[in-house]
């Protein structure tokens, strides 16, 4: 294969509009009605997938894999819509996708799955993912998978990649204060943890969806179980912060009065 070999790591998270409530489960904390909650592909991982597909489109012979660890049934639901957005081949690990699992353990099973992808040349690997998940939010798994696979050129908070003809690329990484760090890398193997990226969400393309589904259903059928034990990690308790404020609602006040009150508050 002469093109790019891009592996995207990404899983599912509860739809952001859902109310989340922690409950104590048999193996530690979980979300109330977790399996019933509508799920979406993790937003930053989705950005990574769309950026990967966009890059692959530009370089002939390229291929994109999406490696996802999550409950098989939920993944199947989410893939029905994700599959219509971009061409990719799915690799499934059937296990927990919640935020209470251990990053190192998750990284270990994901690295194992990436390592077993048939025909993947690790020397040409571009490993993509979200720079943080919307579940665990550690920003740790992707980097650990990279280390396990020997990918030591890593970039995080990436919003843009500019690929040169010689295989080198320039990336923009988010840093503090609304600034970007611009780096140049000679080429793969490399790891990019994506922030929002610079592409809009692609429109649904039923043709791409049908192509993808030829691989997605078999991938789901042969999903490897990946139970995570969480050994050594002890949760002492998880709760939703009680930050309900006594809101004072100011109606029918004049613009001048409101502005004066705000000015005093800002100056105080």
């Amino acid at each position: 294969m002469n093109g790019l070999q891009i592996v995207v790591l990404g899983s599912i998270v509860p739809d952001p509009l859902q109310t989340l409530e922690p409950v104590a489960g048999p193996t530690g904390p979980a979300l109330k009605n977790e399996l019933m909650l509508p799920a979406v592909l993790d937003p930053w991982a989705a950005c990574a997938l769309f950026e990967a597909a966009n890059l692959a489109k530009k370089v002939a012979g390229s291929k994109v894999w999406l490696v996802a660890l999550g409950p098989k049934a939920k993944l199947q639901q989410v893939m029905m819509s994700v599959a219509q957005k971009a061409p990719f081949e799915l690799v499934v690990l059937d296990g927990p996708a919640g935020g209470f699992t251990d990053a190192a353990e998750t990284a270990s099973v994901l690295a194992g799955a990436v390592g077993k992808i048939p025909g993947l040349d690790k020397g040409k690997l571009l490993l993509f993912g979200g720079w943080q998940s919307a579940s665990r939010s550690t920003g740790a798994v992707l980097s650990m998978v990279g280390e396990k696979l020997g990918v030591t050129e890593q970039f995080q908070g990436v919003d843009e990649i500019d690929l040169a003809k010689d295989g080198g690329f320039t990336v923009l990484e988010r840093i503090e204060g609304g600034c970007y760090q611009k780096s140049h890398c000679k080429g793969a193997p490399a790891l990019l943890g994506w922030a929002t990226g610079s592409l809009p969400e692609p429109p649904n393309n039923p043709q791409v969806g049908m192509q993808n589904m030829r691989f997605i259903m078999p991938a789901l059928a042969k999903a490897q179980p990946a139970p995570l034990k969480g050994e050594g990690l002890k949760h002492l308790g998880v709760e939703v912060p009680s930050q309900r404020r006594e809101t004072r609602i100011v109606k029918n006040a004049s613009v001048d009065d409101i502005a004066r009150e705000l000015a005093d508050w800002i100056r105080a």
Partner: protein, 331 residues
Amino acid sequence: MKVLFLAHTEADGGLGKAAKEALGAAKGLGGELVVGLFGETVQQAADAVAGCGATKFYGVAGADFATARYVSDAAAAEAICKAAGADVIVAPATSRLSRVAAGVAQRIGAKIDTRLTGLEMAEGKIVATRWYYRQRMFGKIQRETSPWFVTVDSGCFAPVEAAGSASVEMLAAPVSAHSEVVEVIVPAADAQTIRPDAKLLVVAGAGWGKSQADGQKHVDEAARLILSLLSATQASLGSSKSLVDQSGEGAALPFLTHMHQVGQTGSTPRHPKGLATCCHGEEPHVVGWRFIGERRAINLDANCGWAQGKADVLYVADAFQVVAKLVDLLR
């Protein structure tokens, strides 16, 4: 228990605020404290905290470590961690250390937890506080294995100031890199709208880009008012996802980028005060306000999300008029 405080130095050779706070977190654990620093130079930074009570100072320095590059930073941090042999490694959650923390943890066989907001000893064990699902809930955890690598959020611990003269043991960290930092792109001073140290966060919501009472959009006026308010207050600008998305499509405020986005798919800034304008206060956005102290909002809808216990004060008014008057008063 041996605790390693690990940090990078800043461009001026000193230690940043976040690093000094992380040192406060490390010191608060008790036990034997060791300091590890990397950067172009480390002596000035080591001297700045020489009196912190550390029994040993390690350093990795040189031109290779002047910029924030994964390969070199990870090599430096790995060398320090291995030399220190600590049970717990505490580092600030800066972008530079966040980039390498997990990779270094993997190299030294450590477990990692990031962006902790609490770290304390309870009954002889370390208890860490961290957030889940993008600040929707928080929990306390313990680890029964070591080493344990943690990064701590800024604004959660008291900084350590303990100047003196430190004796630093310099370590070698061979670097073989295929990448280089080309430049840091900083917005022009008059275009700088993200100010992490500002006392006030001003959030612009989707309402600024929508049709107003006269049926017309007033995007240019909205942009002028928002920038005027930022100029008058030196506040930091945030936005909801919907307004940023509008801007990306060229339909709304041109100075907004995804970096301004606050909430579930954006940032969670820390400011003492926050003022939301033309923003409905939906939960995916408001989770990004978790660490904002006093909250006020201006919205035409008295039943918007801010009214549901999410703001201290909600002004039911036209933000265009209020902000125009507010700017006049603050000038």
